[in-house]
């Protein structure tokens, strides 16, 4: 925890500096007749973020906050595994939406998650992997008229559009 506390504070300090630099693309001072410049609000807030990070780092060196004294690991092996699998599979799912669309990504994600992570039987996995995209299609595309991304699979949906829309 102790190392993670420092790493996070330093990373956020760098991010704050980046935000200050980006904010300063617009005026950050007072413009006569117009008031505060367009960059003033985010710039001074980013300065505030940086000050907070500096305080967290100072506390870390002085060991005055609970986490700066903690000897517990930030993530144990079990947590790393769960996090990597869950966040990793979600990342792959979002990335695959660009190619195979929501209706291709959902079943693949469910099959991986339920079979590999949950060891659920094929029958249950299959039912959910089919039902979830069907319900999603009818709710979003038909009821809400919101077209979800379909990637390369778009032409497969033309008959369905003709049928329901």
């Amino acid at each position: 925890m102790r190392v993670a506390e420092l790493v996070m504070a330093l990373a956020m300090a760098v991010f704050s500096l980046y935000l200050m630099w980006k904010s300063a693309e617009l005026p950050i001072g007072w413009i006569p007749e117009e008031g505060p410049g367009g960059g003033a609000f985010p710039f001074w807030l980013s300065v505030g973020m940086l000050v907070c990070c500096v305080v967290i780092v100072i506390r870390w060196f002085r060991r005055t906050s609970p986490l700066s004294r903690s000897t517990e690991p930030y993530m144990d092996a079990r947590t790393v595994r769960i996090f990597a699998l869950a966040a990793g599979s979600l990342f792959v799912m979002v990335a695959s939406i660009h190619l195979i669309g929501v209706y291709g990504a959902i079943p693949l994600f469910l099959i991986f998650y339920m079979r590999y992570m949950g060891s659920h039987p094929w029958r249950l996995t299959g039912v959910l992997a089919v039902a979830m995209p069907v319900v999603t299609f009818f709710f979003f595309e038909i009821a809400l008229k919101i077209s979800l991304p379909k990637g390369k699979t778009e032409p497969l949906f033309y008959p369905l559009y003709d049928m329901f829309l």
Binding site: L26, G39, F91, L144
Partner: protein
């Protein structure tokens, strides 16, 4: 009389078949979400808000209000049956609810929690009905300095009363406000904070993207880590006869329920406080004032009714500043407020003038939601216990998918989906280091209003910051905000004095 007439008009809206159906459905969904360990009203409302685009705004807010209510009831179920709070608002319920379940009194604990929730909800809605119109009348006189002062007060309450790490709370507020500034400058219209020149940032960072990222993806990652997997679900046999017997026994706890209800309501009004501190405070007072305080923590029913009455009352209390002042009283109401902006409604006192049917429809629906949540809760206890047994490896991917498609719906942008994923993962990593996330969500919702009111005030005063202190209402609110900001400093000085 006028309030009564408006309320009756509200009932005419709330009891329309569509709205009534949404109340019942929302309560059931909320109970389900609330009963799941780790998930609460804020998760339910954040994930399901995009689904409400199908119905008119009044029906949408009624549905989300019902989810909010249902989740408050549902939180107690997993606290009692599993010993794992359904949400942070139900932590205090675990202290005595779980021991009662282990002693074979789970049915009594569940009925007590539901009854106390009903009492807390009922009292708070009546208080809400009485307080909201006069407060909105006062707020109608507010100008930009008063609005900005209110924003400062909202953020200051997180610092003074939030109970989280102070520099990290400040950081969370600042980063939320910076993200709210992404897009186009509200005065000059120039592009601002367009990271890596990605076109997706031109339309700003949608608050829903941050909210679903943190409360959907981040929360599930968190729950997967903290839930050990090996929990024992207690058994409860709820019968009509048993309910009658429990209700008679609960008459002895009337005083505690009333205390929890009033305390919860007024704590709920404070922006940073909300239901969690309200329920913990109610538990503490119930224990301190009880003749049998030694039995608290070992299965005293008063330890169940006090926090449950308080957390339901607080959930209604937190809607008061949201509707009358445009300032959310809790993370859930921050998301509701953001939803109102999406639906094209300007939160604040003008709602009471320009959108009476919306406001009073919501208020009336809360009365109905309170009743339906009670009935559904008691009638379907066995089903909720079954839900508790559902493996998280089924629930988690379904929620992840709801987050992805729900996050895409409002903006039709894959850019936002990636942003949501990043917010979820980074939010989870930061939460592990005690960075509070609720202030960031509040800040991104209030940010545009805070910047607009600040810049309007400063333009009007030619840059004189004293404009915030010279007007009586804004001056009073600013001083109150400064006092709250200094509160942690006073605590540190006192602690040091005590140590020396």
């Amino acid at each position: 009389m006028e309030i009564f007439d408006l309320l009756m008009g509200g009932f005419a809206i709330a009891l329309q078949p569509l709205n009534l159906g949404l109340i019942v459905f929302g309560c059931a969904v909320g109970l389900f979400i609330g009963a799941m360990p780790g998930l609460g009203s804020v998760n339910g409302v954040a994930i399901l808000l995009p689904m409400t685009f199908l119905v008119p705004p009044t029906s949408a807010i009624i549905f989300l209000g019902a989810i909010y209510y249902g989740a408050m009831y549902g939180g107690a179920i997993s606290s009692i049956m599993l010993g794992i709070p359904g949400a942070s608002t139900a932590v205090a319920t675990t202290f005595d609810g779980r021991p009662m379940a282990l002693q074979g009194k789970a049915d009594f604990a569940l009925v007590a929690a539901a009854t106390a929730s009903f009492v807390g909800g009922s009292i708070s809605i009546v208080l809400f009905t009485l307080f909201a119109p006069p407060l909105a009348d006062v707020a109608l006189a507010f100008g930009p300095p008063e609005e900005f002062a209110l924003m400062i007060l909202a953020f200051a309450t997180f610092i003074g009363l939030g109970g989280d790490d102070i520099p990290k709370t400040f950081f969370s507020i600042f980063i939320g406000l910076v993200f709210s500034a992404v897009g186009l400058d509200i005065v000059s219209g120039q592009p601002r904070l367009i990271f890596f020149e990605l076109p997706g940032f031109f339309h700003g960072v949608n608050f829903l993207v941050l909210a679903i990222g943190i409360y959907g993806i981040g929360e599930i990652l968190w729950t997967m880590e903290v839930s050990k997997g090996n929990v024992v679900v207690s058994q409860a046999n709820v019968t009509i006869r048993g309910i009658g017997k429990s209700l008679r026994a609960l008459l002895k706890t009337t005083k505690t329920m009333l205390m929890g209800s009033f305390l919860g309501y007024f704590v709920g009004i404070l922006p940073a406080a909300g239901a969690t501190p309200g329920s913990l405070m109610a538990y503490g007072i119930a224990k301190a004032t009880s003749k049998d305080s030694d039995s608290f923590g070992k299965g005293n029913v008063e330890g169940v009714v006090a926090p449950e009455a308080a957390n339901n009352a607080a959930s209604t209390g937190s809607m008061l500043p949201m509707l009358t002042l445009g300032i959310p009283g809790s993370p859930t109401t921050a998301i509701l407020l953001g939803g109102m902006v999406i639906w094209g409604l300007e939160p604040g006192p003008l709602l009471f003038v320009e959108h009476k049917e919306f406001v009073w429809g919501l208020i009336a629906s809360l009365y109905a939601a309170n009743l339906f949540a009670l009935l559904i809760n008691i009638a379907f206890i066995p089903m909720f216990i079954w839900v508790l047994k559902m493996p998280f490896t089924i629930l988690a991917p379904i929620i992840f998918i709801l987050c992805i498609v729900g996050g895409y719906a409002p903006t039709n942008s894959m850019h936002d989906i990636w942003l949501m994923f990043i917010f979820g993962v980074v939010g989870y990593l930061m939460r592990k280091l005690d960075y509070p996330m609720a202030p960031a969500v509040l800040a991104i919702v209030l940010g545009p209003l805070a910047e607009r009111s600040m810049r309007q005030s400063l333009i009007g005063s030619h840059g004189d910051m004293m404009t915030f202190f010279e007007r009586p209402i804004s001056g009073t609110i600013m001083v109150l905000g400064i006092v709250l900001l200094l509160l942690p400093l006073v605590k540190i000085v006192r602690r040091r004095e005590a140590a020396t």
